[in-house]
Symmetry: C2
Subunit: 245 residues, 2 copies
């Protein structure tokens, strides 16, 4: 706080202001606010921090602080302009352009991701599918042809793909990651249960389904051991919404 970047021409998506360096925790919540804004549905022009915070499942003070990092897009006594705030968050997240994403590994999970319609409405379009297995190459999923992984460099360049999703088995993931990086991809979402090493400048996020379950399992174990204990209480401090992730 009390930072620079507060007298500058904040604003108009297109004016490209000095890019704010938001805290990672804030960045991770912006998509949630955006989702909440889209789900409002009623024709309200403005929304209070309290209202939006409730819709997004967070504390209202936290929401205000998060939004304050983007600049002042609220009006005291009134709230936030829904359309303006939506546009601003989308701009910050880089969603004003529909980002091209490629998906590697059209197995069990990859197949589902390729067919997932939740991406289109949230700023992304899957433009290419790849796999190494000859048996899968040539298949059409959701109107999209599965190409051989060797075509990745060419397609990536043509479609200017910056984001890649890995849905291969863990054994193939590192090689695929290397291929993606070589092809110019600078952000990777990894579903394979393994650690990827990539050059600096490339972002990796991972989603491991078993890990999520194991974390829940821990809490189950904890809860069970508490109830078993003499005088143990059941609910510690779990709250109405555990975020994690």
């Amino acid at each position: 706080m009390s930072e620079q970047r507060h007298g500058t021409t904040h604003g108009a998506p297109g004016a490209v202001p000095a890019f704010p360096d938001l805290p990672e925790a804030t960045i991770a919540r912006l998509p949630e606010y955006l989702r909440a804004l889209h789900n409002l549905e009623d024709g309200a022009e403005t929304i209070s921090s309290e209202g939006l915070a409730a819709a997004a499942g967070v504390n209202s003070a936290k929401l205000r602080k998060d939004l304050s990092h983007l600049g002042s897009y609220g009006t005291r006594g009134v709230g936030y302009d829904v359309a303006l705030l939506t546009a601003q968050i989308e701009y910050i997240l880089g969603l004003d352009q529909r980002r091209a994403v490629c998906l590697v590994g059209v197995g069990n999970l990859g197949h589902a991701l390729a067919g997932y319609d939740g991406f289109a409405g949230r700023g992304f379009r899957i433009v290419a599918l790849f796999d190494a297995a000859p048996g899968r190459v040539g298949e059409v999923i959701n109107g999209l042809l599965v190409r051989h992984i060797d075509e990745l460099p060419q397609v990536a360049a043509e479609e200017s793909i910056a984001i890649g999703v890995i849905a291969t088995p863990a054994s193939a993931a590192q090689a695929v990651a290397d291929d993606l990086v070589s092809a110019g991809v600078t952000s990777i979402l990894n579903f394979a249960p393994c650690v990827l090493s990539v050059p600096s400048g490339v972002d990796v996020r991972k989603v491991d389904l078993a890990i999520e379950l194991q974390i829940l399992s821990f809490h189950e174990h904890r809860k069970a051991s508490l109830t078993a204990l003499p005088g143990g209480r059941v609910n510690g401090a779990v709250g109405t919404e555990a975020v994690g992730s």
Copy 2:
């Protein structure tokens, strides 16, 4: 640090020691250590914190501090006993019993999750599938029958299911969560893009695929604006592995 719980009978899974209350951040990493341990493959009896940290993609000091919270299972000058450490982490995570999980929503994503073979090897077995659509009820996926959601209470009781996975559309998720809670489920993994409200004592973790992509999109946007800037450098401080999640 400098806590209690250090003279107690640490140990033997089955002795049920005073349950350590680990920091959340540590809990989230234990599954990663476990995965790294399983992936070692070579017959080494012990592993150093440096080695395991590298395999898990974290700092070695962090790993040591995390493990120190479980008690002292390492030997100075030698490292950690692989078998003992593995058993201990599995015990803490409550994975010594194969936990029963049910999955609600056998659509696009749910179908893939039901067929995902990565759960079995990591301490879980999916014992029941549910859906509300009559068209899907009766289908058999991976040898498992899809039941109608109305059967949930009965099946949950029979199989003593404590963990539920929601893979329905967002519009149905809250109702399903309520059903799960009523059926005695106390941990929920939510793939639907919405906020769930559950009573205290129930843990919820969420996985939103679009949010993960949006976070990556932000970093793409940031990187792009930096390179466009006069004198802008490309790589900020992204590192070899971005965790997030």
